[in-house]
């Protein structure tokens, strides 16, 4: 059964149509690979999927229920990894992770939540658990952010350029984590320019959905708000 679908989604940003007429469907264990030039709306689509902003028209639905109807319930379904890595400089890596894990774990007994320690081990930074966030490199922060995804179960992972700042070893660990997640029936949407190592992923090229009028004009740089 298809869990997560988008129908005729139109995205408006800064008074410009970024893409239009976009459809997608994601089944359990499925993967969606977002491709497209800079500014083609990969990040914008991920943000719409996360419910940060609404599509101008069209619907994004979880089990055929529009996610805009109950944003809080939708928040339980997914993990979002954006461009920024929210690691507090004065808290240790373990404290950073524990906070986000606790927010999720409160009354969600389904699924075995990995402890922060195990999640850090899986991304190869177990030795950093007691290090304050301010001493981390960009790649290490990204790994902490990705470890956050592993500390609490969620059906869908929305990953925006997850390999940014990661070395090749960390990228492989991420690929393994995504493969494990999909084997358990999880879904993943990845926006990336690099090969993400996703087996039988559906590729969605956002270049195919550019608004007709805008083809000649320069597109706005895709960006955080």
């Amino acid at each position: 059964m298809t869990r997560f679908t988008g129908t005729d989604v139109v995205c408006l940003r800064a008074e410009r149509i970024v893409f239009e007429g976009l459809d997608f469907a994601l089944d359990p264990a499925g993967a969606l690979m977002l491709r497209g030039a800079n500014g083609s709306g990969k990040s914008s689509l991920l943000r719409l999927m996360a419910g940060l902003g609404r599509p101008l028209s069209g619907t994004i639905a979880w089990d055929d229920a529009d996610i805009a109807d109950d944003p809080e319930a939708h928040n339980r379904h997914f993990h979002y990894v954006g461009h920024a890595d929210p690691v507090k400089p004065v808290l240790t890596v373990a404290e950073n992770l524990a906070f986000w894990a606790a927010l999720r774990a409160r009354d969600d007994s389904a699924g075995a939540a990995e402890t922060a320690g195990e999640a850090l081990e899986r991304l190869g930074i177990g030795h950093l658990a007691s290090v304050p966030g301010r001493f981390l490199s960009a790649g290490q922060k990204r790994r902490v952010n990705l470890a956050r995804v592993l500390t609490a179960p969620a059906d869908l992972w929305l990953l925006d350029e997850p390999q940014a700042a990661l070395d090749s070893q960390a990228s492989r660990r991420l690929e393994t984590a995504i493969a494990d997640h999909r084997r358990d029936g999880g879904m993943v949407v990845v926006a990336s320019h690099a090969e993400a190592g996703l087996k039988d992923a559906v590729t969605l090229d956002l270049g195919d959905f550019q608004a007709k009028l805008l083809e000649s004009t320069g597109m706005a740089e895709e960006s955080a708000p």
Binding site: N75, Y80, P86, K88, A102, L103, R104
Partner: protein, 221 residues
Amino acid sequence: MSGFMLILRRDLHLAFRQGMDSLMVVAFFVIAVVLFPLGVGPEPNILARIGPGVIWVAALLASMLSLERLFQTDYEDGSLELLALQPVALEVTVMAKVTAHWLTTGLPLIVAAPLLAVLMNMPADGFWALMAALVIGTPSLSLIGAIGAALILGSRRGGILLSLLVLPLYIPVLIFGVSAVDAALGGFSAKPQLLILSGLLVAALPLCPWAGAAALRQSME
């Protein structure tokens, strides 16, 4: 543990680790008040007359100074976006952050206020009214300020914009806070003013987190 308590605990934790922030707010409060005897002159009667007003205005400014940081750091490092994507209502998140803000800035101001009242030669009759008015009034300041702090996210001259947005809304709290002390000093009951301050707080409690959350959603779109 509820989402409210988790976020409150995290914010307090962050505030204590960073330490200096709430200390600086109190230091600003003390210095701002101390400037008045130096500027106006050490005439005891004049100081006693302007004391309640000076303490309240300094408290407003001190509370506002720290507001800019209420959402700013979380906004910059992406935490705010992530907080909005947790299964906790954004209104609850705002309420938790405002509570943490009041505990780390409002409460120290209340503790410092009697000392400054002595410095301003305020008669002892007015002390309890000053304390009571601050206890009821400063939470309203934090709540109202949260709307402003949420609205300025992403703007460059945030601090100045914040004061323009928030200070006019602080006026009712200022008027009734000062007149509560003046009433007590004049030998009247401060109860009516304190009741009006309580009314302002009761109105702000549901409205401000709601408006603040709406402003945050706007900033993240």
